[in-house]
Structures are given as C-alpha cells and as structure tokens.
C-alpha cells in the first residue's frame, strides 16, 4: 500500500515521508530488541533450557515494530503463540518474558502460560493465544468494550495467513464490521502454516486481502518487511478506528526466517526462497534506509548494542529466578486466588 523505500536522501534524519525521527529510531530499536530476544530464545531452546516449544517471528519484526510504534499507550494487542515480538514491543519487560520461557515464577504468567501464552496486561498485551483463530472474536470483544465505555482505545489483533481459513476469522470480521468496532485485524502472511504452504489450501491468492470485501472492508496489502510502510498503514487504520469509522483488515506480506517452531529446519521451503527473503531482512533494509536518511552509523550501532545488553541482563535475571512450586500450581484458577471446585 505504502512504500517509502525511495524516500529521499536528506542529510538530516528527517524523512520526506513525514515519519518522525523518533518513530524511526523507535522502530529500529524495536526490531533489534525483538531480534535478539528471539535469537536468545532459540539458543536456549536448542540448549534445552527453554522446554516445550517456541515459535519465532524472526524476519517478521517490521510488522510488530511498525504497529507498536503507531499505537497509543492504552491500545490493546492480541496475538498468537508467535507472539514474542508483539508482547515485548508493547512494553513487557524482557526479563519477565524470558522468565516465562524458562518456566520460572518470575515469568509474566508465573510459568503457567509458557512460550505460547505470553501476556502482560499492564502493558496492554492482552495475551498470546495458541489455538488458531480463537483470539479474533476476543479482540472484537475488547474493542466492543472500548466502544461502549468510550475509552478511545483501539485493539490490534495479529494472526497468520493460515488463520484466514478457520471459522472464527469469518465470524469476527463480520461482526466487527457490522458493529463498527475499533479493531484492526493484521494478517501476517508468511506464506506457510506449519509446514504446508498457504497457497495450497486457500481459494484466493491473498488469503486476507482477497476476503476483505466479504465484510465490506477495503483491500489492504502492505510490505510487512518494511517498518515504515507498516507504520504508515498502521497509523491510518488506527486513526480510522479511533475516529469511530470501524475495523480494518490488513495483509502484511512477510516471511519467517526459522521453521515453524522448535527445531523445525523448514526443509519444505523451495530452494532459494529463504535466501531471497534474507535479502529483504527487515533489519538490514531498515538500517540501510536510515543510513541513507542520515542517521549516524554509530547511533545505530548503539541501538543494537543496547538490545544485546538488555537481552543478556534479562537472560541472567530469568536464569537465577526460582521455579514455581505447588503454591503457584494450585493458584489463580478463580478470582479468589485459589482453585477449589468444592465448598
């Protein structure tokens, strides 16, 4: 939809497209923080410290960065098991996320959620949902409450291409449109479900965008590897939602560098495909753009270093924190703090 890649060569970091310098710096930092966080999660998984599973959004960081930078502080985010980036970039402390991945009591969910359920309500990261499509109606509901309560909040709901074929997608988009809800649905089309290409199981080429008309919505496709493009698209649909003009559906085209989850090597991908997308690595293209726009290389290096320092500290903090025990196990099923089913 919006492509600002050729956006001028001004010596000062003030882009022709009007994206503020601070926003750009924020996005670069956001992408790096997400990148190092997930690299560490991967390493810890491979070394056996993160158990269970992990689903990395590495390669897709521009979507999370663009949206999180465009959001108001109290706007809400709903995401999937592939939700590290979104939860982190809403403001969840790295240490609490890393604690959760390591199954520690210091984790954002006290170890009970795990990698697929990262949540930080204080920062309006309203949860990572592990069953495909389930969070779409939940996001609509959160937006409905904002609408009724007049809070002016916008809800942003991220999901994958494969999610467009499940019933909950259809029900959510329809009711969001009919009720004019302040919700933005963002499909991160990374071409694959787990191992199966989306194109092999979908009746239309663009699984989200080609269905927008079914809900009376505009067809919006954005380059999901271009943080600026995402940012501008995000601003426009979020503004629209906040102004009471209803929901939007965006298809962000991107790619995951790793396999689907855990140690999946992604062998099902055709030769050359990964390489092609590695050239479109959102961090690489963004750094090149920023340099072209006049951001000093040293500044950018410092952003990267800060991210590395942050993940090192967070990892250490998580590693030394305690494992949960029986008290945590039997806690927080009910609002009274306990889990008793009997009187």
């Amino acid at each position: 939809m919006i492509d600002t890649s050729g956006a001028g060569t001004a010596p000062n970091p003030r882009p022709a497209s009007g994206i503020p310098t601070e926003a750009r710096r924020a996005m670069y930092s956001a992408m790096w923080r997400a990148r190092v966080f997930e690299k560490r999660a991967y390493d810890l998984f491979m070394s056996g410290l993160v158990k269970g599973t992990t689903h990395l959004g590495t390669g897709q960081e521009a979507v999370a960065a663009g949206f999180s930078t465009a959001m108001r502080d109290d706007d809400m985010v709903f995401c999937t098991y592939r939700g590290h980036n979104h939860t982190l970039l809403r403001g969840a402390p790295m240490a609490s996320l890393m604690g959760e991945l390591l199954g520690r009591e210091s984790g954002c969910c006290r170890g009970k959620g795990g990698s697929m359920h990262l949540t930080d309500v204080e920062h309006h990261a309203m949860g990572s949902y592990a069953i495909v499509g389930a969070h779409l109606p939940v996001a609509a509901g959160a937006a409905w409450a904002s609408q009724e309560r007049g809070t002016g909040q916008v809800t942003v709901c991220f999901f994958g291409d494969g999610t467009t074929n499940i019933g909950a997608f259809h029900e959510s988009l329809n009711i969001a449109a009919v009720w004019g809800l302040p919700v933005v649905y963002v499909c991160e089309n990374n071409l694959y479900m787990e191992y199966t290409p989306i194109s092999s199981v979908t009746a239309v080429p663009n699984p989200a965008a080609d269905r927008a008309a079914s809900y009376g919505l505009d067809r919006i496709i954005v380059d999901g590897n271009d943080a600026d493009a995402v940012y501008e698209a995000a601003l426009s649909v979020i503004d629209r939602a906040r102004a009471g003009e209803g929901p939007s559906l965006i298809e962000a085209q991107t790619y995951r560098h790793y396999g689907h989850s855990r140690a999946d090597p992604g062998k099902y991908r055709p030769a050359g495909e990964v390489e092609e997308w590695m050239e479109k690595d959102p961090l690489v293209i963004y750094r090149a753009r920023l340099e072209k726009l006049g951001f000093p290389a040293a500044d950018l290096d410092r952003i990267e270093e800060a991210a590395r320092a942050e993940i090192d500290a967070a990892t250490e903090a998580a590693k030394v924190s305690a494992e949960p025990g029986e008290a945590v196990l039997m806690t927080d099923l009910w609002a009274d703090g306990g889990s008793s089913w009997r009187r």
Partner: protein
C-alpha cells in the same frame, strides 16, 4: 411477593443487575428486538436500550469470544447461547479460552462474564436441541456451573452469577420455563455453591438438579407413602459443588441416589457418586445408584422421549427395589 414463571424470573434477575450496574450488557441471537426465542429476555431492550441489549448474527464463536474480550476490558457481559447444544459450536472459546485464561496468565486476566443457555429435554425437539450439557461444563476447570430449579433461585443465582468475578455457565431448563413460583420483592442475590435440602428424610439421599428436582420431590412423596423417607437435595450449582450438604445427608441416611438428565457416562452424578464412594464410604449402607438418561441422544417422539428422561416413577422404582 409476586408469582413469576421461571422464564420471567430470568428477565427479572438480569434486569435487577442491569439496573444496578451499567457494565452489565446482554448479547445473543434474537435476545433484543424479539425478547429471546424463549421469551426470557423480554422487555430488557425496551428498558435498557439497544446498546445494552443487542442482537447478534448467528456466530456463536463471535458471541462467546466477544463476551470474553469485553469482560477483559471493563464490562460484565452476558452472552446468550440459544440452546445449550450449540455450546458445542463455540466450545473452544468456552473451554479453551474463557475457562483457562485466568490460570494461564497467572491471574492477570479476570473474566466476570455469564453465558446463559436453554438446557434440557422434554420439548420433543430431537437430539440437537434437547441435551443436558451441565456435565460438559463441569468437566472443564475454570468454569462455574449453575442450573436452578425454581423461579426464586433463577433470580438469586442469576444475580450471584453476574456479580461473580469468574466465568459462569448458567443453564436455564426448557422444561421449567412455564413453571411458576413465589419470588419475594426487592433485591435477591444468592451465593454460588450452596445446595438446598428440599425434602428431609432418613432412609436415603436423592441428589438432583434443575428439572430433575421436581421429579425427585414427586418420587419422595410417593416413597414417603410407602414408608421410605428420603432427603432430596437440589444441588443448584455444580461448580462450586456443595459436597458438605451431600456428605452430611449421606452420613445420616446411608444411601445415595443421584438423578441426572445428562446421558449416563461421565455425568455429574458419577462425580458425586465417586466423591461419596471415597469420602463417605464408611457411612454407606448399600450401593450408590445413579438414575440417568440412558447413554443415547434424546429422541424426538414424545412417547420415547418420556421414557428416556428419568421420571418420578423410575426414581421410585429404582429406590424401592434397591432399598429392599
């Protein structure tokens, strides 16, 4: 004091809470303009306006998911699922999302919501509109489950469910909608988790729920005439479960009979029986016997639907022959 039908009691309970707390809203199919297909929400839209009482598309996952999302963000919503059979169409949202979210987020997310639904058989609607699914809900950690048997309980437990900070599945029994009862004036609020002993006896304990309560009472009356005196306990809520009331009754009577409308396998009666067979074993004077709908879907024809659902006669015969 007023005489209300069970169906009117539903609207009365909801209205009481909507008047008290503007965060309470109601959505569902045909609940607003039409006042509900069972007329259980009649007058609410007129009284509280079209934003607080709202018709939805036929989208059960959207209804339940939206109720969940709204409960996360400051509302105390009520969602209607027209027939409890249709809970299956949104079971993922109910059982995997609503029930688990507080626990999985380490207590970060509170979900003060109610899902109401018309439950139970006897209406000759056939297998997809007649089920008693209280055991489906009871089996899921994180759901409270309420199933009242009288108008006054409908009002009080509805208020209790709406004020409860946890998700509540509130099952209204179709066969009871037309039944009437006295309901005191003024605000009624019941605590979830208290069973009621509706008949007192010494020879056996009958535990029942919803539409099985009047049948158990009828059976108790017949048995009394034959010299068998039974406690009849109306559980009212399955979660929390009032084990104390059941156990202390069995301690007195020595015999337990459960009367369930859900099909046999893994019904709530099995749970109650297994608790008693563990915790009250030494109090028992004879087998625990469950009286249930057979493990079949409910048929439509009246002649055989009536055979399937436990009747007062079947309760009497079972207890009589087991007590010999």
């Amino acid at each position: 004091m007023a005489t209300l039908t069970y169906r009117e009691a539903v609207a009365r309970g909801i209205a009481q809470e909507m008047a008290r707390d503007e965060r309470v809203l109601l959505i569902g199919e045909d609940v607003a303009e039409a006042g509900g297909v069972f007329k259980t929400t009649q007058g609410l839209r007129e009284r509280f306006g079209p934003r607080r009482v709202r018709d939805t598309p036929i989208s059960e996952e959207a209804i339940t998911g939206m109720v969940m999302g709204a409960a996360m963000n400051g509302l105390r919503p009520i969602g209607e699922i027209m027939f409890s059979d249709f809970l299956a169409t949104c079971w993922d949202i109910v059982a995997n999302q609503i029930a688990k979210t507080r626990y999985m987020t380490g207590g970060q997310i509170e979900l003060p919501l109610v899902l109401r639904s018309a439950n139970g058989g006897g209406s000759r609607f056939g297998g997809q509109h007649s089920q008693s699914v209280e055991n489906w809900a009871m089996a899921i950690p994180g759901l409270k489950v309420v199933a009242p048997s009288t108008p006054v309980d409908v009002v009080g437990l509805m208020a209790g469910a709406i004020r409860d900070p946890d998700p509540v599945i509130f099952l209204e029994h179709k066969a009871l909608f037309a039944t009437k009862g006295e309901v005191p004036d003024g605000e009624l609020v019941d605590v979830l988790g208290r069973a009621t002993t509706v008949r007192t006896g010494s020879d056996a304990t009958i535990v029942a729920l919803a539409a099985m309560v009047p049948k158990a009472v009828e059976a108790a009356d017949i048995l009394a005439r034959e010299g068998i005196s039974v406690d009849v306990i109306d559980l009212r809520t399955l979660v929390p479960l009032d084990v104390t009331t059941v156990a202390s009754s069995v301690a007195r009577t020595g015999r337990l009979f459960t009367v369930e409308e859900n099909p046999r396998l893994c019904g709530w009666g099995a749970e109650v029986a297994s608790i008693v067979a563990d915790e009250c074993f030494w109090d028992l004077d004879g087998p625990i016997v469950r009286i249930t709908t057979p493990h079949i879907p409910l048929p439509a024809a009246d002649a055989i639907e009536d055979m399937a659902i436990p009747s007062a006669d079947r309760i009497v015969e079972t207890i009589r022959s087991s007590m010999q």
